[in-house]
Amino acid sequence: MTTRTHLLHQFGYFRLFSLLLTSLPLLALPVLGMVWLWQSEQRIVWLAVLASCALLGFGLHLVLSRWDRNNTTLHATRADPLWPPSATPCWVKVENLAEQTTTQNWPLTDVEKMALLGRNTLETVAGHYHPDSPRPLLELTLPHALLIMERASRDLRIEIVENIPFSHQLKMGLLAEANQWKETARRFEPLYRAGRLLANPSSALFYELRRSVGNSIAGYGLDRVKAWMLREYVRKVGRYAIDLYSGRLLLDDVVHRPAKDSVEDDKRTGERFTDEPLRILVLGRANAGKSSLINALFGQVTAASDILPHTTQEVRAHRLQRDGQDEALILDAPGCDTDLFGDTALEKEVLNADLILWVASAVRADRQEDRKRLDMIRSWYAQRSHRRPPPMVAVVSHIDKLRPFQEWEPPYDLSSTTSIKAANIASAVEVIARDLGFSLDMTIPVCLAPDRLYNVEDTLAAVILEQSEEGRKAQYLRCWEAEKEKESWDKLLVQLKNTGRFVSDWIR
């Protein structure tokens, strides 16, 4: 209050008086207008105009706000695409909880209630991950709990800067002052309104009517923002809680840090990757054409291929660079039905792969071995719900050896009914897709003979490129797993070292 008196004092009473005197004719104008309306019996008309204008304005506002709602959507936190499939049901729970949250039940101004809402969200997620634990909230480690606070705070900052205009110029003091003004106004308002009612009953009535309508107009946007903030709050907490409880939140950032194996395989290629490459694993039975496929993809002889089995004696990594495609490590494996590549070795390579190309010969009908191994691969990933299975593409080789034997005149239109060869290729693809449990669009017929290369550069390369997006997701979880394993050891080592120092200091 002192500030205001002080300000008035500074301005000067005479100056204020002169200002009022100057504006007196203007200030008298509404009063004179009202008198004229009263005397010329036009007040009914005026009241009607006032009512219809208010109604029209309100209607226009409703239309505009609906249009607004349809066209501008506030940002909502979504499920992390890199999450393992096991997180999906939990995210659905969080989304439901967010939808059920309303400003009526959870006023934003009540800090304690906000804390309770956050706790509820955390408990929902914790209960999903630890259904047997009586107090699932306790299933987290201290550094992780601190980490989630840090992350959530950082996110909140970014959100506010992005979503509230001029927030970067907004100071805490200003916020406090604005609040104070609001409080004073609220204190005197009823008194002011009561006075108005006594002085001018009819205009006060209209004023009250306009106020309640106008409040809802002005308040609409605010309510929406409030609801958004509440729901976003639930989603944000839910998202980090899922990260936390699925054990995915690491103490260090892991994105695209090379996993241990790729570092080793890099040594095998003789070059270093700065970023984690996509690991494309080429599998299949002996002489199915794995090495030939790699040669075809590279466009030059890179891997040794032969008509006899055992040509590829061990898993070999080749580095693929191509226009428009990221670097990838292509891993050539020995035939999975040879002694050189047992089930243990297969499992290790498969769990380290981001994309699998399964090569099967069109002219070999005995696909039991293929199916057995593919089922094994599928079950290994099914057992690991925190891992996303890498996309798998079936590559059907040797299509030139299908009947008629002596014909090879590509390109073949597989939907054609006139070409016997094309029809045979189409049926072979269908049979192989069924036998091996692939979908038809993931079963690509190719010819890999060096002088008869067909469908590799275009179709197969396009499918690989398309699937590498999915492969990146699988890769993320693979790196994360590798990192997590490394982290526990690294952290333990550091902790032990520090303990050791402490103990030695103490002894000294």
């Binding site: 039975r285 002996a286 002489n287 008509i307 006899l308 089995p309 035939g335 039905d337 040879t338 069109a362 002219v363 070999r364 009908a365 005995d366 696909r367 039991q368 071995e369 199916r371 040797h398 050896k401 299908l402 009947r403 008629p404 034997f405 002596q406 090879w408 045979n424 049926s427 072979a428 049979v431 192989i432 036998d435 003979a449 002088d451 008869r452």
Partner: protein, 402 residues
């Protein structure tokens, strides 16, 4: 008297008063008494087992697949020829098919078989499942010879090149003649199997049996070598039974020959079975003559019958009548006569059946081709064939006693 005799034999040979059912029952018993050898074909799915049966027997029932999808879904016997089989091929569902456990089928086949032909695609280096079965079979049956047919040679040829002619794989030094990829693949599989347990040989035969419309000539590349291997692997004279002698070269001739051999074996079996009425033998011969007529698409009308019997001449008539009489007489003598009569009857009926069949085939072939017929030649064919038929029956009976 002569005319009467002709009439009688004609009646007997072409319009026998024998119940069809009785004859069929007798044939079934003969089949059971002298079971034809069973050749078991073992291999992965789509390796070409049924193709081999198709080429060996010419049976249109042997349905073959498209190369990328399993075709034979159940184990199946191919009696060849169908009515009076000389050999039975046992076709099996291929190994390595998705959702198929072959262990029961393998046990069944092993129990039935007398000879095993393993069928492997030359281009598929790894054949562990087939070779494992072979090794186990040889431990249980060390005396079984094994034939390994290496098929689909064309998959290893350079584009636009055909089969090497003449067939080189049965002469030493073929490794130098064959395309290097093919030679290496063939040798690799031989090395993979190694030497299984047992004493009998393992015979490797590369073959390529394609369909005529595939355009790879000849479409039965290596079939003769496969026959030779079967011949070498067994003492059952399968080849002479199925292929006939050198003069039988065309498809009709071979089919006719197989029919004749089948009926000869059946009639020998009739003779050896004491309970079978010898009157059934002419009925059997009739059935054979009609089968031959079907092969050559010739109807045995009255004119043809008379002409054929006329060409055989009076010597045949007398001999046929006497033999029939002698056989019946001997069989009538109790105990000793039964045995002697059976043996005599077996050899004699087999001889006549074979002779009659060969003579009829000769007659039919020349009739179809519109060539002149000369009684002397027909009689010569008959006389020679009677001898061959007797030898065949004698050899069979000796083996039986062993």
């Amino acid at each position: 008297m002569f005319g009467n005799m002709t009439e009688k034999i004609r009646e007997m040979l072409f319009r026998p008063k024998v119940d069809e059912k009785v004859l069929d029952e007798a044939l079934r018993m003969a089949k059971a008494g002298v079971p034809p050898p069973v050749v078991w074909l073992l291999g992965k799915t789509q390796s070409g087992k049924t193709s081999i049966i198709r080429s060996l027997t010419g049976s249109p029932d042997a349905e073959i697949g498209n190369g990328f999808q399993s075709c034979t879904k159940t184990s199946r016997f191919y009696d060849h020829p169908a009515d009076a089989p000389v050999v039975r091929f046992l076709d099996t569902q291929g190994l390595g098919e998705v959702d198929y456990d072959p262990s029961e089928d393998i046990a069944f086949c092993e129990f039935q078989a007398h000879l095993v032909i393993a069928v492997v695609k030359a281009a598929e280096g790894i054949q562990d499942d087939v070779f494992d079965v072979l090794r186990k079979v040889r431990i249980r049956h060390p005396e079984w010879p094994v034939i390994v047919a290496q098929t689909c040679l064309h998959e290893l040829y350079a584009p636009d090149s055909g089969h090497i002619q003449p067939y080189p794989f049965d002469t030493p030094g073929w490794e130098q003649i064959a395309p290097p990829d093919l030679a290496r693949s063939l040798l690799f599989q031989r090395k993979e199997l190694g030497t299984p347990a047992g004493i009998a040989p393992v015979i490797w035969t590369p073959v390529d049996l394609t369909l005529p419309e595939d355009g790879i000539t000849p479409h039965d590349y290596g079939l003769a070598a496969l026959w030779a291997a079967i011949e070498q692997a067994t003492e059952m004279e399968l080849k002479s039974r199925l292929m006939g002698s050198e003069e039988v070269r065309d498809v009709f001739g071979r089919a006719a020959h197989q029919q004749i051999v089948g009926y000869t074996i059946a009639s020998a079996a009739f003779g050896a079975l004491p309970l079978v009425d010898m009157a059934l033998v002419p009925a059997l011969q009739t059935k054979m003559l009609h089968s031959l007529g079907t092969i050559y698409n010739v109807d045995w009308d009255k004119k043809r019958i008379s002409e054929f019997i006329g060409l055989l001449g009076s010597g045949f008539l007398v001999g046929y009548g006497l033999r029939l009489a002698g056989r019946s007489l001997l069989k009538a003598v109790p105990v000793a006569g039964q045995t002697a009569g059976a043996a005599y009857g077996a050899v004699a009926s087999a001889g006549i059946t074979f002779g009659l069949g060969k003579a009829a085939a000769y007659y039919l072939e020349r009739t179809v081709k519109g060539q002149s017929l000369d009684a002397e030649a027909v009689r010569k064919v008959f006389a020679e064939a009677v001898g061959t038929g007797k030898k065949m029956a004698a050899a069979m009976l000796t083996k039986e006693r062993k």
